[in-house]
Subunit: 337 residues, 2 copies
């Protein structure tokens, strides 16, 4: 059993599930908990509910004392410095919620907050496929398309509340209405949900497919399986999504002269089917580097990325020493420092 000083709590609040972990300084997940976001209830109950789950997690694995700190990842629009969730479209009632202060008081440990996609990016950058890169973007293909941007070896925040909002970059020729109310956003065709929606539309249009199930049940996991057996619907949708991601990624690489892009989130399970059209667009339009100078790869950590990114967030916030990066994965970035 490690001492309590060597552990921290990570909380990853998603639109579908809430995940938490008690994690050592070395990146080992000692205890893990997950429950549906709908269990949270309204703003008046959710803090007590989360606090109780986190207390139980600690008691289970680390009865000797408190963890060092708590790192919170939340979806939507947040104010980092104040620790406030301004608005979370997929979490009804979350408006101007000072979640950092409330959880810090309930657990009596320091807490820090960042956007969930930023935690994902920090995780992949410190421990996963983005390791060693000075300038890198991590995309998450989930309910939407999120992103976190590492510039000059630091997470980029920009001038206002939110940055790396790559999911709402408009694409010409795309006419689908987005969850944000706008039309033609990247995530309408390239998020995991967007790709499943494309499949439902394909089936409704009675186009050729080997899928025989209920259209309501289709997801990118099923589509991966279908694509590997030659389903024209899944192959076509992955190709189009890959092209859309490729167009946006090309813009990002040419603008910022990045070394790498990491593709994560549930939809990245289809990476092998997304990659050909994505890399084709990039290879035709990249001007800031040659294709062998950059890399575009699948995330290495899967669903653990945000929990491990929490370690990086705590380190950046000063709650953790410099010695905490102890998971040994090969340095894979071509142009890293």
């Amino acid at each position: 059993m490690p001492s309590s000083e060597d552990t921290f709590l990570a909380l990853d609040i998603g639109g579908t599930n809430v995940k938490s972990g008690l994690i050592t300084r070395g990146g080992q997940i000692l205890a893990f908990d997950t429950f549906p976001s709908t269990d949270l209830g309204g703003p008046e109950t959710l803090v007590a509910m989360i606090a109780a789950r986190l207390e139980a997690l600690c008691g289970e694995a680390s009865p000797s004392g408190k963890p060092r700190a708590l790192a919170i990842g939340a979806p939507g629009w947040i104010r980092r410095a104040e620790g406030v969730v301004v608005m979370a479209p997929n979490l009804p009632g979350w408006k101007n919620l000072p979640i950092t202060r409330l959880l810090s008081q309930a657990l009596d440990i320091p807490a820090v907050l960042d956007n969930d996609a930023n935690l994902y990016a920090l995780g992949e950058w410190h421990f996963g496929a983005g390791k060693g890169c000075a300038n890198e973007i991590t995309l998450t293909l989930g309910t939407g398309v999120g992103a976190g941007l590492i510039l000059d070896g630091k997470l980029w925040n920009g001038s206002f509340t939110s940055a790396a909002e790559i999911g709402h970059i408009p694409l010409q020729g795309v006419d689908r209405v987005c969850g944000c109310g706008r039309t033609g956003c990247l995530e309408t065709v390239a998020s995991a949900r967007g790709m499943a929606n494309s499949a439902r539309k394909w089936i409704a249009d009675r186009r050729d497919t080997t899928y025989l199930g209920n259209p309501d049940d289709i997801d990118t996991l099923a589509m991966q399986d279908l694509a590997s057996r030659g389903d024209p619907m899944s192959l076509s949708i992955f190709r189009d999504a890959g092209e859309a991601i490729g167009i946006v990624l090309t813009g990002v690489f040419n603008l910022l002269s990045l070394e790498a892009a990491v593709i994560g989130g549930g939809g990245s399970g289809a990476f092998e089917f997304l990659a050909p059209s994505m890399l084709d667009v990039l290879s035709r339009h990249l001007v800031t580097a040659t294709m062998d100078q950059i890399k575009v790869v699948k995330g290495a950590l899967g669903g653990n990325a945000p929990l491990l990114g929490a370690a990086a967030l705590l380190s950046a916030a000063g709650y953790w020493g410099r010695g905490w990066v102890a998971i040994s994965l090969p340095d894979t970035c071509p142009g890293g420092p």
Copy 2:
């Protein structure tokens, strides 16, 4: 007459003209010279030719001694640290040219090199429409679409030789071949040359226009005049170009959470006709800020921007003290430091 320690030389090498200036610490242009880039001749003669013009410029205005340093802006792909122009598509024979060392030796003063669009951006940021912004992009609508990016109060360079290559971001639905050999690049429809090409195509297609001159002679200056008198061709081309710029700018704002974009270069003379469709796209797709938190404005310095940007480059390179910013323009950026 200021002392020689208070002046520097700025050299702006363009695909069409070479401009140079002898400039005071306070930003006053004491002497100015311009000649066609074709006069440069080949790589074996151009250094001596430029050096002679710069010497003449100094003798004319500052006979008492040498200027403090030389700042060079060059188009194309450069290696900043080594002072080398790797390749300049519009300047035949410019390959791996160590222009910084050669001119520094010929004039016996220190010299620094950067991309011409970066100098333009530095000029607008220090002295012009981008003044006071921490995070800002300046676009130049010229032969191509260039850009310089200010992030966290510094010019952004990225991982490789070149960054902010916004002109070659591909747009879906655009099928015009670019000077770079690719298809659908922003600059094929939104550079000054691209807009003039659109006009020539419009005339060749015998579509409705009030332009009666030779199609070969049309440029954005003539089109501005036509647009102000209701010409459907010029209005339509500016609207489409504004929309294309708006789409790319939206992506840049949403990715980086910028405060401002400055539109410069010759094509920015048509700003009033480009702005409505550009701002319409932005207002519909911006998610990192509200429209009143950001600004999109026409450059304030015109063709002097690169020469004044040279002062900033020399300052960043340590050849100039911190007291050199003496041009007083109002601080106009909404979110500046």
